[in-house]
Every structure is written in C-alpha cells, then in structure tokens.
Amino acid sequence: MVTIDDYGDYETAWCPGCGNFSILKAVKQALVARELKPHEVLFVSGIGQAAKAPHYLNAHLFNGLHGRSLPVATGVKLANPGLTVIVESGDGCNYGEGGNHFLAAIRRNIDVTLIVHNNQVYGLTKGQASPTTAEGFVTKAQPEGVASASFNPITVAVAMQAGFVARGFAGMIDHLSELIQQGIVHRGLALIDVLQPCVSFNKVNTFAWYKERCEPVGPTYDPTDWEASMKVAGQWGDEIPIGIIYRNDRLPFEEHFSVLSQGPLVGREVDQAILKEIMERYG
C-alpha cells in the first residue's frame, strides 16, 4: 500500500502562491493512486522553477540541462523500460529550448509521461517571454510586446497524432491528478500541458483568469476523433477546453526494439560466440 507520505514533504524554492505547489500535489496523488512506489518511478527534469519539482518528492531523478529532458528520458526508458518515466519541466524548457526534442518525442511515441508546467512566461530568469506567451504581451525584455505568435502545444501534438494529448489546470488538482494517472497508464508519449499562474511575472494569465475560462470537455467528447480533436485543440480565449483532447493506440517506441523483449539493457553479458562471429566476418 503506497501512501502520500511515501513521497515525502519538502521545503521548496518557489514563490508563495505558485501554481507549482498544486501540480506537485496532483503528481503525488497520481503516483499514489497508481500504487507506484518511489523506486519504481524516475523523473527527468530540465531547468527552471518547474524543473525543481521532482526534488520535492521521493523518486529517482535526473535533473539535467535546460530543454534536454526528453532525450535523457528516452535513453533511460530504452535502457530500462520497467521504470515509469516522467518528464516534468516548464514551457520554456520543453517548447523553446527543447522544441526539436518535443517534435521527435511525439514521433517516437516513447512511453514517457510529459508534464509541462505552462505559465506562459520565464519565471526563474524573471519574466521574459516564453514560447507560449501571447503576442503583444509586454515584458522588460520585450518592451514593445512579444512580436511572435504564441505556440500552441496541444494543436501541434494533435496535428502530429501524438499518442495522448491532455491539458490540465493547476487550479483543479483532482482533475489534473486524474489526467496524470491516465497519462501514466497510457502506453506511449503522454503530453499533459498544465496551465499554471505565475504569481510573480504574469499579471495577465492569473489564477482568476484561468478559473473563469478552463472548462473540462464533456462526457460525450470523443478524444479518438482526430478531426474533432484538431478543432478543440485550437480553442483558446473565453473558453479553454481542458481534459484529454486526443488519444490513439500507436505502438510505443520501445516496442520496435526486439532486444528489449529480453528485459532491460542493464547487466547483460557480452555474447562471446556472436562477437567472434562478427570478427570473423572481417577475415
């Protein structure tokens, strides 16, 4: 029996009132609900305030470079597919610095749960625009307003037919926790983009702003209908749909590798007979 206490309770480096606290709580709840023990779960994170989240619970952790969590997670999962691998980092990390890896991870469909804390701003470096910042949003680094259009990760992921695409809101912890659970259960890449207020640097997309707009998709919504999903994915404004936007049952990446049917790549002996055969081919 796994309890929330197994995942610990630690002091954080976050601002009071930060959306990260709710996401951390939702993550712990999801792990407990899935009855996963800390040593069965490996987090990979990048750089930013969101990337610190896995330091504040008990599990394996590789806190790597800015933007590079998905490649590390891919390597981990291929080496030991038995681990539940979760990437947790921010919008700048995953959609900006790591944009190419985001696209490649969707194509691979590696069985990793990708939780993106999306506060539409760079918090740790004090308020510059992120890829998801709205066009025109004024920051100290973009005093005339952001000149680029914002990146919609949900639209991109659905367009690429990612295995599992969901959007959550940090202000709805139980709903978010349910999404994370579903993401963990899903075999393949599961994107959970989490809308999250930044109390220090985003005075537009506040808790109240999101609360007014976030609306769970209804029970009749069919996330396996790709064309319908594309429409919902693009919705942003007065009403922002949250929940599982799209899913399919593509084969997970690691199942393409027959060597993994014999278990993890860890602790295997070198097959001397085959090695000798290989060498003799050069004769």
């Binding site: 470079l65 490649p71 590390v72 390597g75 602790g267 070198v270």
Partner: protein
Amino acid sequence: MNILIGGEAGQGLVTVGQLLAKSLVRSGYFIVVTQSYQSRIRGGHNTFVIRVRTDEVSTPQESVDLLVAFNEDTVALHRGKLTPAGLIVIDGASDVKGDCILKVPFKDLAQGRFSNIAALGIVGSLLGLDIGLMTEVLDNFFGKKKPEIAKENRGVIEASVRWVAGQATSVLQLPEIPNAVQRLMMNGNECIALGALSAGLRFCSFYPMTPSTSIVLNLAGWAKQMGLIVEQAEDEIAAINMAIGASFAGAPSMVTTSGGGFALMGEGVSLAAMTETPIVIVIAQRPGPATGLPTRTEQGDLDFVLHSGHGEFPRAIFAPGTVEECFYLTRRAFSLAERYQCPIFLLTDQFLADSYRSVMPLDIKSSPPLRVSSEVVVESLPYKRFAITENGVSPRLLPGISEHLIVADSDEHTEDGHITEDLSVRTLMVKKRLRKGKWIDSDVIPPDMQGEKKPDLLLVSWGSSKGAVKEAASRLRTEGKRVATLHFSQVWPLMPEQFMRKFEEARQVVCIESNATGQMARLIRRETGFQIENKVLRYDGLPLTPESILRELTH
C-alpha cells in the same frame, strides 16, 4: 607496391578497392588503404589507394606502381606519381596515349556483369593473385544467395585472368607468400565498433556525420544479436543526452560524431561530468572550421576536445595510432568511463577511420568484464549517489535495480544528489570531482618511444600519423641519421615524467601534426614548459606520409 584506383563517385571503385584489398589480405599481404573522396554521391574524383607489402606496413606512400583508371581524368591527375616501372590500366575505349598503358576491353570481359568485377580479375591477375581466392572473396561480398550469379562472376574473373595471360606484363607480380597467416581486413571505424561491442556497449546514439558514420553502421547490423540499441537522434544534442540517460540507467553508452557535431554536444559533455555519468565520445576529425572539408582528414580538434564543456572536470583523451589501437583504446575508454564515472574521448580522423589494414585477430575477450554498478548494500540507507570519498569516485547504484533512490543533478548538489546552494558543499564537490582526475593521472598510457637513446633528432607525433612518422624515421636511419620517435596514443592527461627526459636528451625535437598551428606542441609547452621550435604541419586535408614528412624535414 602502391595501387591507386581512381574515378568518379558512383563508378564502384570503392567496391573494387575493397574486393582487391580483401583478396590481398587473404593472400597474406600487409596493406594500408587511403581513401580520398569528395562530398558528393556521383561524379567528381575519388581514389582508393592500396599500399601492399610482404612485411608489416602502417602508412601510405605517394608514388604509384599500378594506376587503375576508371576515367581519363584519373590518368591526368596521377600520372606524375607513376614509378618508372609502373603501369596504367584503363578501358580499351580510352584515348589515353603513352607508354606503360594496358588497355582492357572491360565490357567484353564483364559479359553483362559489372565491369568492376572484370577490373578485380585484371588487377588481381596482374599481381598474381589466386583465381579461387578472388572468386571466394566475390562470393562472400555478394552473398551466396544466387548460385548462377556466383558462377557468372567466376566466369568474368576467369576471362580476365586469361586475357592478362595473353599480355606481356608480368613485372607487377607480387612475391608469393607461402603459408599465409590469416589476418582480418579492418579499418579504424570497424575496429572502434568491434571494440565497443567487446567492451559491453549497450546503447549508441548518433546523428550522421562523415567520417564517423560507419562506426554506427557497423554496430547497427549487429545490434539485435548483440543486444544493444542504436538510435539515430534528431540532433547531436539529443544524441549525447540520450546516451547520458541510458548510461544513468545502467547501459554502457557511446556517441559518435565529428567536430561540428561535437560542438553541439559540448553542454552534454559538461552534464556527464557534473552528474558523473560514464560516457564514451568518439570524434573522427575532419578539417574545419565549420563544415570545412567534410570528407578529408585533419588533427585540428585536439584543443577543442581538450577544452569542450564548461566548468572544470577531469577527462581522458585517447588518439589511436593504428587500427588495432582503435580496438584496444575503445575498450579502454569504456573501462575508464565506468571506473572514473566521467566522459572519456576517442579522437581519430578520416584517414584512420577509412584506412583498411591487415590485422591479426583481436583479443575480443574483455577481461575483466565491464563493471557498471557497485554492490547494493541495504544497510547504508539512505543511499548517497555522490558520497564524498577518498579517490573521488562514489559507489554507483542504478535506478530500478534496488529500492535505493538515485538522484543526479546538473546543478551543484549534495551527496544525495539534490540541488544545493550551500557553498561549503560546492567546494567539497569540486574537490571530489577533481580527485578523480588524480586517479586518472596514475593510469596514463606512456608515449611510445622508438629508436636511439640520445638521438640527434626526436620526432614527436600523436594519433593517426604514427605509421608515417615511424617510417620517415626509419628511412632517415638508413641514411645514417640518429633518429628516435615519441608517439602519443593518449593525449590527455600528459604526464611529463613519462617523456621529459627524452626531450632533454635529444639534440633537436620536431613535432609532426596534421594541423596548421601545432596543437600538440602547444599542449606540451603548456604542461611542461618545453618549447618545440620545429614543426612539420600538414593541413591540406590529406594524411601525413613518410614522403611529406621527409620533404619538410630536409628542406
């Protein structure tokens, strides 16, 4: 004997070259192959040069004895290098004029099969190779799937041999080798692949980049049987981060690239150092800056590899001097990476990567086998991945193997791996990581010293130029000069006590490198204070040869 096969890309000259080289190795000869090609798929001018000897050889030569021309440009470009007794072999339809030309009716001899099979038959029989042996090499190459094709190939070889027998050109016959010893034909990249497999490689990620790519091509074909994963990443940044992830989870990992791709890996190198994750990084050099000469050779990235990765951390850099060393040093790189939990580099170049040689069967039994993790000791809970130890190496456990939690961070971290800004911990961690460097220092391969004890001339070299420098020295000795060579196959760390006396005892020291600024000479000065005034530097994209070295030394 030096055989140059030249023509356009796409004409199959590499196939003929490989088949001929293999026939020569199977006949018991020693070879050194130099491949020179352009960065294109069709057209242009490429060469495949095989130097053949009855005794051991480890460097190319410049003069040509047999020029096999797939087009007339090849004759125009290389005729000047032909020795007085040399011969040009070219298609009968060619207009090329002059002495010593053998015009061959390739099309007739090929009888509808590929002309290059006839070329193999012609050249092979000019050299006096056995028909049965050549057809066996062909069968191995094309596979024995279709017996009628094997029969046709044999017919082409026999017709070619008969045709040669009707010509008056037997001067090129190689001396026969009785009781030929069975050797392998391997190039540098193949030896790196085999070395990695024998070391226990389980994960290799890469982004294709000449001249490194054939390492992974050699691995990929065996991945299933040998139980490893080879993954083509979206870019080099992903490649090194994937390998770090796989290694963190316990799979011995490697990345392969060239200078430009390695530039993208820099931050990953630093990450491996900070998280103390073992990784082997192979860099096959080509001339830079930027895209440079993509398919040519240079030793221009020593400084770069030495300094790549921000921050201070220990590393080791191997630079194989022969294809055999590619095998053994790759294995050593894996063993060091796991032992010291840090990035270990293997620095080769296009010349060595593509240079086929005849090598004795390699000692593939790795002893002791690679040790990836420490024993799990349950009493020592909670486990501290970065426990401060005397030699700097912390006992390493793997995630998912026991109930211990493994935490690593690119930020400065406490012993249990969690992010910290406690500056006293910072100091302790820096010292811990650097202590591993002291241990690496005690395990450095000394440079190879050959020749007179107190020489008039000491030739210093590193990496792939080993054979060229050795042969240049031996030619100087036959002229009565007192010459010695000092060759580095490990270029970092440098341990001055291993070689300083050699420098001081020599009347003159010359550093020989394939770069424009003498990077090794500079490194030696930085580490020892000893200034090597004289240098032989080649940076036109071609490998150092004994001739090119002697020209510079004597002018």
